[in-house]
């Protein structure tokens, strides 16, 4: 395993976060120090400069920095907060497993069990392998910090067979911890599937609501580096291809991390330029031909999507039902496949529980990309649900507004009527006055 660091010359730091976008706090042409806060948002996490340099440009999406040649990674220039979760936020801790979900949201509540997820099971991602080869102690230290701060009594290291010996040798440091090595199974690394294998727990909704924290090795490493050395999350390990990994600053342009693109630039090889890049795993990753962006916290793996990883052409489903017994969620993949465009049927078949683990793919004799279909179906369903929710809100708001307008119109009519009544009183007074005057005169 080769883990290298790269000195970037330019950084494109994305401001988009899990559910919000950080607001820039620096201006173009300003010189910034390594570890300086660049942007923040109360609903997200702060963004720090991985290196010193000069801000080239600032937009709502991205801050571009020209990096000083001799600059290094440095601790964040902030005073650490006393409150645990606030300090977690301050360190820009987000889940490095692939979702980049803010840790201070995930680690709320009163958990009883911490599960350290060392199940890395989706090719070609191998950040965890890389991490264990350079600083195996660090994730354990992160686990200790988390368990102590939240008063978690039970800590379980869920490690795949390759990693088990590494953790076994470190167990004497944390004697009360358990080491759990589940039977190898596609999709076992998914939070829900892992907890079922561990405790037989069936999850409805987030694990944290049922007292579990499932943390990725990279996230715990980041926590340990923040707690013990003051480094906020400005770097991550990213695996490239099958054998290489970089310790890279967030914002490093992806081409700098792909040796093949450097070759392509040198040799002007147009074919290599137009290749498709996969960010993430074979199943959960996304493909793009847009390579010129900066590395983000959720980018765990970079690889080329070429013939060697391309699946065999799919053939029609022969209803052999081999896919059903292997599904860790007890679903019927052949039925989900059959009804893949009918959202009501999909919901009834339990598509929401599908973790898109691909266990069904691996046994399908027709090479049907089942998990990919289910991922698409889930996405369509999500979009449809958000549209429906919006329409429902609009319907309610329209009704409220109409009711208000009707009420106002009625009130206006009433006021006018009252006003006229007022006129009548004036008339009565005038008439009485006239009568009185007449009587006086006569």
């Amino acid at each position: 395993m080769l883990v290298t660091t790269r000195q970037p010359t330019q950084l494109h730091i994305a401001l988009q976060q899990y559910a919000t976008r950080a607001l820039p706090q620096v201006q173009a042409h300003q010189h910034i120090a390594s570890g300086q806060c660049l942007a923040d948002h109360p609903n997200g996490v702060p963004v720090y400069a991985p290196r010193a340099g000069r801000v080239r440009s600032v937009s709502a999406q991205c801050i571009t920095i020209d990096v000083d040649t001799d600059s290094h990674e440095a601790p964040a220039l902030v005073e650490p907060h006393d409150h645990f979760l606030e300090r977690v936020r301050q360190g820009a801790m987000v889940g490095l497993g692939g979702a980049a979900f803010p840790a201070h949201h995930k680690w709320r509540g009163t958990p009883h069990t911490l599960v350290i997820n060392a199940m890395e099971c989706e090719a070609p991602i191998h950040c965890d392998r890389a991490l264990l080869s350079i600083r195996p102690d660090s994730p354990l230290r992160g686990g200790e910090i988390l368990a102590e701060a939240l008063g978690i009594a039970r800590c379980v290291i869920a490690a795949k067979a390759d990693f088990a010996p590494i953790f076994q040798s470190m167990l004497p440091r944390v004697p009360s911890w358990e080491l759990f090595t589940p039977a190898p199974h596609r999709g076992i690394g998914a939070e829900r599937t892992l907890l079922r294998a561990l405790d037989g727990a069936t999850l409805h909704g987030p694990a944290s609501e049922q007292g579990y924290i499932v943390a990725n090795l990279g996230t715990l490493d980041a926590l340990a580096r923040w707690w013990d050395h003051g480094f906020a999350l400005t770097h991550r390990l990213v695996s490239v291809g099958n054998e290489q990994a970089y310790w890279a600053a967030l914002g490093t342009p992806l081409p700098d991390l792909l040796p093949d693109t450097q070759d392509a630039q040198n040799t002007e090889n147009a074919a290599a330029h137009s290749r498709t890049l996969r960010v993430g795993g074979l199943l959960s990753g996304t493909l793009s031909t847009e390579h010129h962006r900066g590395l983000q916290a959720q980018d765990n793996s970079l690889s080329w999507d070429d013939a060697s990883t391309a699946p065999l052409p799919a053939e029609p489903c022969i209803r052999c039902a081999r896919c059903a017994p292997v599904c860790p969620e007890g679903l019927l993949p052949q039925q989900l496949h059959w009804y893949q465009h009918q959202s009501e049927a999909l919901v009834a078949l339990g598509i929401d529980a599908c973790t898109t683990c691909g266990a069904c793919d691996s046994v399908c004799p027709s090479h049907i990309p089942l998990a990919a279909q289910f991922m698409r179906a889930k996405k369509t369903l999500r979009t449809q649900r958000s549209i429906d929710a919006m329409a429902e809100r609009a319907q309610a708001r329209f009704a409220v507004r109409n009711a208000r307008q009707t009420r106002r119109a009625e009130q206006a009519v009433e006021r006018r009527a009252q006003h006229r009544q007022g006129d009548k009183r004036q008339d009565a007074i005038a008439a009485a006055l006239a009568k009185r005057r007449q009587r006086k005169a006569s």
Binding site: A394, Q395, R397, F398, R401
Partner: protein
Amino acid sequence: MAAALALAALMAVAGTVLALLARRWPEDTQTLLARVDAALPQTQCAQCGFPGCRPYAEALVQGDAAVNLCPPGGEATVQVLAELLGVAAQPLAQCAPTEPMKALIIEADCIGCTLCILACPVDAIMGATKHMHTVLLDECTGCELCIAPCPVDCIELVPARLC
């Protein structure tokens, strides 16, 4: 023969009673109205010629409007409406929008006249007299009704995916 006549008479009576019930049963029209309303996209843009989705739904249920008048709903909505109301589907009367949009107020140019607030059918604009106004993006349906009333032309439509 007599039996057949009696049966025919019974069927006629039952049929009339059922037809009357169907006409007179307010819950039934209510649920149909609710289902027709729910089938509409709730953009409240009035492009159908009615002041909002609910009024259009009412007209549809009463049989006073064609099923092909809602551009935001597109052909899919025409199909659903035709099915619900048991009439033939027709091609859409105006072309459907290509993608969902949202209104965005260029806040620096807003003079705070409140005209857009009055126009917005879903209360998606916040502001006060002579102060800057802004659109609540989560609530805006992109109906465009606020665009025309703005005297300084400072409301723009942007694709929802960019918001």
